[in-house]
Structures are given as C-alpha cells and as structure tokens.
C-alpha cells in the first residue's frame, strides 16, 4: 500500500511545484510586480503557442518549422554518430593511429565549437547545410571520445577467446569490440542528442531562412519574450521525445546487461 502511495505522491509533488512556480510568475505579472513587457507570462506563452498551432507562424506552419529543425538535428546527429563511432573504434584499436591523431582531436575539441556555426554559415550559406555541419561537429566529439574509450576498455580475455575460437580481425571488431564499446557509446548518445538540438537551434539563431531557431530569433527581434518561450517549449518537446526513443533503443540493445532495479525503500 505504501509503495502505491509513494508512486503517486512523487509525481503529484512534481506537478504541484511546477504549477506553483508558473502560478507565482503569472501572479507577479498580473499584479504588475514584474513587467510583462520584459519577462512575458505563462498565459502569453500559451496564447502564442496556440496561435502558432492554429494559424501558423510568420514563416509558415509550425510543424514545418519544427520539421526543418528536426531534420537538421537528425541528419547531423546520424552523420556525427557514425563518424564518431567509426573513428573512435578504429583509433581505439590501433595504438599507432591513436598516438598520431589524439593531439589533433584534442586540440579541435578545445575549440569552442559553437563558434564554428558562423564559419559554416559563410561556407555553406543560410540553408540547412550549415546547421547540419554544426550539429555534426558537436555530436562527433562527444561520441568519439566515448567510442575511443570503449574500444580501449574491451576485456582482453574476450578478444583472446574470440581469436582462439577462430575470429579474424573483422569478426573480433564486430562481435567483441563493438558490442563491448556499445554501452559507452549509448551513454554518449543522450548528451550528443541534446547537443544536436542545441547545434541546430543555435545555427538557426546565427542565420537561417526557416526553423525553430529563426522563430526564436525573430521573437527576440520583436521584443516578444512569449515567442522565445514558445519556441523553447517546442524545442524541449522534441528533445524529450528523442530522449524517450534513445531509452527504448538502449533497452533493446543492452538487453544482455543485468538491469539494476532501483531499490525501493520498504520501511
């Protein structure tokens, strides 16, 4: 009985806190304690969102803007992950290459990469290409380092076993190194997806013809805080859905791992 009560109390408190926070904000705006002009309001944000959904945005239907951003995110994410995993695994398995290239990769990693967005806009224009490039760069590094570490972390015993059983280099990679590194890689995918959305939106803020980032940027230009919040809400929803999908993928691919059940207190 107690556990059921606990299961409902936690979400109840969570929802309550959120409602209290938004309520306080709305109240502060309504009683003119803070300026609605600068800070906007929850009701205003909701109105803006509703408008976007019903009538579309200034740049066209909301779904279209979201789709543009999502495409940039997904394409960039896919390319970044594939490159990061491949390079990470190869460098992790071939020590000579690792010694040669880690200096370059380390240096590039310390560049504040978000700034590269400006460079990409000059190179690739204000279309989707420049955003995808920025996403790729952001995703690549976070995946690369995990894949690299994962490939070096493989149990030597398992490799020896596979080799004696008859595995050649390719099979060792496919059947031992990759699955072993996978738990490292999947851990980086969550962070990487967050970065991918950030990259796409920031890219659009820097200069775009379509997308959620542009929507936010225009709201900022119009001094419309509610518009910025509404853009954020949509972006956050996309990120949450993606996070859920990654969790499903993780469950499916890491089935072999014993899942540590969170211990529920039984007092």
């Amino acid at each position: 009985m107690k556990t059921i009560a606990r299961r409902t109390t936690v979400p109840a408190i969570q929802i309550g806190l959120l409602a209290a926070l938004l309520g306080a904000w709305q109240l502060a705006v309504d009683t003119k304690r803070i300026s609605v002009f600068f800070f906007g309001s929850p009701a205003g944000t909701w109105r803006e969102l509703y408008e976007w959904i019903r009538r579309g945005t200034v740049q066209g239907p909301l779904w279209q803007q979201a789709w543009v951003t999502l495409q940039e995110t997904l394409i960039g994410f896919a390319i970044g992950v594939v490159l990061g995993v491949l390079l990470g695994l190869v460098l992790g398995r071939i020590p000579l290459l690792a010694r040669v290239f880690t200096v370059y990769i380390g240096t590039m990693n310390s560049i504040p990469r978000i700034v590269l967005g400006s460079v990409f806009i000059i190179w690739f224009g204000t279309g989707m290409g420049s955003k995808i490039a920025l996403v790729v760069v952001l995703v690549f590094f976070s995946v690369f380092f995990n894949a690299f570490q994962g490939a070096r972390d493989v149990d030597q015993n398992l490799i020896a076993n596979a080799r004696v059983l008859g595995a050649r280099r390719g099979s060792v990679m496919l059947h031992v190194v990759f699955p072993s590194a996978f738990s490292w890689i999947i851990a980086s995918l969550r962070v990487a997806f967050g970065l991918a959305i950030t990259g796409a939106v920031v890219g659009e803020l820097l200069g775009a013809t379509q997308g959620l980032g542009l929507l936010i940027q225009q709201s900022q230009g119009n001094f419309d805080p509610d518009g910025v919040y509404a853009g954020l809400v949509v972006t956050t929803l996309l990120a949450l859905v993606a996070e859920g999908l990654i969790t499903l993928l993780e469950r499916r691919l890491l089935r072999w791992k014993p899942r540590r059940r969170p211990q529920t207190a039984t007092t």
């Binding site: 596979a162 059983l165 008859g166």
Partner: protein
Amino acid sequence: MRSSSPADDAQAPEAAPPLLELSALTKRFADPKQGERTVVEDLDLRVPPGEFCALVGPTGCGKSTVLSMIAGLERPSSGTVTADGVRLAGIDPRTGFVFQKDAVFPWKTVLANIAAGPRFRGVDRQTAIELAHEWIIRVGLEGFEQHYPDQLSGGMRKRVALAQTFVNRPGILLMDEPFSGLDAQTRQIMAEELLGLWESLGASVLFVTHDLEEAIALADRVVVLTARPATVKKEFTVELPRPRSPRKIRFDPRFVRLHEEIWSCLSDEVQIAYARATAAR
C-alpha cells in the same frame, strides 16, 4: 544425403589428437626495473596424442604464459611449439582454450555463444545453430538457449564456456585453471563433466591448475613446474583407472600416496614463490 552436408563434416570425428611438443620454450618480458624478466625458461614437455596432462606450480609461476604461447596468443622469446612435428605459428584451428576468467560473450545468448566458434570458422548459420543445440544438450543447458550469461550461475557459465570450446572439436585442449572461480561443490561436478566430455571426444589436454587434488583426479600425468621462471621440475604418472570419477578417486589409497609424493616435490616451489611474494611487499 545428409552425409555430404557440412553439419556432418563438422561432427565427423576430427583427425586423431596430435602429439604436442614444447622444446626449450622461453618467454621474457621487458621489465622497466630489472631490464628483463624471464617468466618461462627452457621448458621441454611432450604430450602424447590424447593424453590428459596437468601442469601444477605455485601461483604466478608462468603457467598461464605457457598456455598462451601454445595457443598462439603470445609469441615465445625462443624455443618452439610443434604439433605432430609441425611448428605452430599463430593460432592453430585445432586448438581450444578454456580461460580462467569468464570469457563467454556477455552480449550473446547461450545459443549464440556456443554457435560463435563455428560461425567464426565459416560454418553457415543454420548448421552452426544445429551444432550449438547439440552441445547445449550435452552440457545440460536445455531451456537456457535464449538466456544471457549474466542470468546464469557460475557453474552454468562454465558449461557454456566448455560447450563453446568443444563445439570446435579441438585436438589440443588448453585449460587455464578453468574452475578456479567456482565453489568447491560446483568445481567437483564440473571436473566430473569435463572428464566425461573428454573421454567421449579425445584430445591432447594441457590443464593448468594450482590445485594438486584436481590435477591428480583428472590427469594421466602431473607435471610439476618450478617457481618463476617456470621450467619442468618433475613429472609423475597417474596410474589410476579410467573412466574415473574425480570425486570418488580421492579416497583411493593410490591417490593419497601420489598426492603425498607430488606435494613434497611441489611444496619447495610453493615456499620459494611465497617467500618472494612476501619479500616484494
């Protein structure tokens, strides 16, 4: 019809187990402190076809290194390993290796783990699965085909490891303290099962252990190695009848006598190794 299928080829009894010979086998490792450390020195050993030979020696004496060199996982600094007079270079397909630590693939099911060897060796999927099924039955893991190793007990994982190795029909079977992680009872059961499998298959076995009782109970011959660097100190023939039950044979007076005899030879080496280990601390 079936006689021409690859399944039967793979199941057909392999060529007789080979004669394994190690001559002047030596392994040195670079050591930053002493320049060089000799782990195995001038080791000569002859394992006649189909013999079960146990290597005993103090912990850390280089027994595992000997097996790694035979398996082709490590290159000897000098000396040779030959099978039927032919020098083994690299990993030989006749070799099977059961490791001390769990070496089954945690991300593969029991079935996929056992089918892995044939798959790596180019057997088609269907045949590999048939072979694996057969071995699942032989080691008594029916019903656990789709389990992952983490869902099994230590003894069951060891069975997977044995099946994984035996499915390749090794002529040379190398075992590196395969049962060391198990509790005493499971250990005896596994020893019993290993003998059963070996007696029905035949292979030249090198079984490394530091458990003298286990060595005598299983082997035809017990070879005592010296403390590092490892070399052969003395060999003892175990003249106990086969088929034998490792559990019951321990009470045979001949077993007890042999145990005394080998232990007196081994204990000096154990003391040397122990003194070194404590001095190093």
